[in-house]
Amino acid sequence: MIRLEGVTKRYPNGHQGLVNISMTVHRGEFVFLVGPSGAGKSTLIRLLYGEERPTSGEIVIDQFRLNGMTWRQLPRLRRQLGIVFQDGKLLPTRTVFQNVAFAMEVVGASRKDIHKRVPQVLELVGLARRRDHYPEELSGGEQQRLGIARALVNHPSYILADEPTGNLDPETAAGIMKLFQEINRRGATVVMATHAKDLVNQMQKRVVVIEHGSIVRDDAKGVYAYES
């Protein structure tokens, strides 16, 4: 469970990221964060994976209390999270297989586990036949799938995605969205910041609308709607 209690984030330069946000995400949920550019969606995601600290308020994810979290504890939280970005943050000098394997290597997985698990995830995201290609040889949608595979490989309970379809054409974006749906169906909780209006509307999932750093709507089977 993710719980935010009166969370405010003010950046050192005075910009207001979030103002007094409270919300709860239960295990297995699929939540869209929508809202205009600069509303604070990315800020919220960064707070969830501990990249930023709240100025005030409380953030709890399962047994982890993020407020007083030290840099030693952070890795343990991060192993529960799969984080996906718009730009994928792929390693250009490594192949598809190596990019995914890397995420397992650096948390100490054995060669055997890596060689068993990586093909499974590549199969799931539809990149099994691309395993020896380099990221620059992939299409935009494939690159995004690679980023998702890497986020999934260590069996996270939560997937945090910041505009994962931002660079993609509608058709490819729909495929990616289906993939997230499948991941969610398999048990992972998904929190996704997005601008993909049509897709959000089709999915019939919970939608949280953020404007100027505050939650203005939170609907269980919501639609993508806000005053811009």
């Binding site: 994976y49 600290r53 952070l74 890795p75 192993r79 943050k89 650096v106 948390v107 997985a109 890497r150």
Partner: protein, 295 residues
């Protein structure tokens, strides 16, 4: 840490050194120079200590007895001195024997010997040999306090001067070394920073998927250690060649000068350079990564 991880870490450190090989070469060279200077100081120190020890071990104490003292009292003191601790050997000589010894040592000084023949101004005395150099001072003190003893002479002053020289060398060595060490540190720090910069994407991904900070740091620390160690090996090789040459030259042109042995010297320099190299390498990586991983 698991075996998988160790394999990974070694691979990463090697990869990084290879990718930054020019900068790494520059670092290794500066480390080599700094450690070479350190090693030269060590070589000189070891040699000074060697000469000091030689002189100390050869030292004999000469005890001179006041004129007109009874021969029996002289011999009685010798018997008593034999029971004192730290004395290996004690030899009595008369002033006639002292004159003979002098004649043999300086056979051309005829006028001097004629003078001595008429009225011998020399003293009776003892040659005393200590068991260990550290006993000399105590033994000398013992004799000096005896009423029949005129004075006591030993090579303490030379030894003292050499010891003082060794201390000065040691301290000036440390000062020069500290300055060189700081300069070297900066260069290694920059090399590691470059390596960190080259791997910033990897580091970002590692942090996102929950690699521990130590896991992220280790390859860089290994890299620093490798640079330090390579510098040490290069410096030692240079010192080994150099000292070998010095020994050969010395054997020809200074055959009586006691040089410290090749192996003893190399043992000392290796210990100093390897420890110095590893400490510098580790310190540089820690400094380069300081602040870097804390969120």
């Amino acid at each position: 840490m698991s075996l998988n991880s160790i394999g990974y870490l070694m691979k990463e450190a090697g990869r990084s050194l290879w990718r930054n090989s020019w900068m790494a070469l520059a670092s290794v060279s500066t480390v080599t120079i700094a450690l070479f200077v350190l090693a030269v100081f060590v070589v000189v120190s070891v040699n000074v200590n060697h000469v000091t020890a030689m002189l100390e071990s050869q030292v004999e104490i000469r005890v001179f007895i006041k004129p007109h003292v009874d021969r029996r009292r002289e011999l009685a003191l010798m018997q008593e001195a034999k029971t004192w601790p730290g004395i290996r050997k004690i030899q009595f000589f008369t002033k006639q024997q002292a004159a003979e010894a002098l004649k043999q040592e300086f056979p051309d000084q005829h006028t001097l010997f004629q003078l001595i023949q008429k009225s011998n101004p020399l003293f009776d005395g003892y040659n005393v040999y200590a068991r260990a150099p550290s006993d000399i001072r105590t033994i000398a003190g013992h004799f000096a306090r005896q009423p029949i003893v005129h004075n006591v002479v030993y090579q303490g002053t030379v030894v003292k001067r050499l010891t003082r020289l060794a201390t000065v060398l040691k301290w000036s060595g440390w000062v020069v070394e500290a300055l060189l060490g700081v300069a070297t540190l900066f260069i290694i720090i920059n090399t590691i920073r470059l390596a960190v910069f080259a791997r910033r994407r990897e580091i970002q991904v590692m942090r996102l998927v929950g690699a521990t900070n130590w896991f992220i740091r280790w390859p860089f620390i290994l890299e620093g250690l490798t640079i330090g160690l390579m510098g040490a090996v290069a410096a030692d090789a240079a010192v080994a060649l150099g000292y070998h040459w010095v020994l050969r030259q010395a054997a020809v042109s200074l055959p009586f000068w006691p040089m410290a042995g090749f192996q003893v010297v190399l043992l000392h320099t290796t210990v100093f350079t390897v420890i110095g190299g590893l400490v510098m390498g580790a310190l540089a990586s820690v400094v380069a990564l300081h602040r870097f991983l804390r969120v």
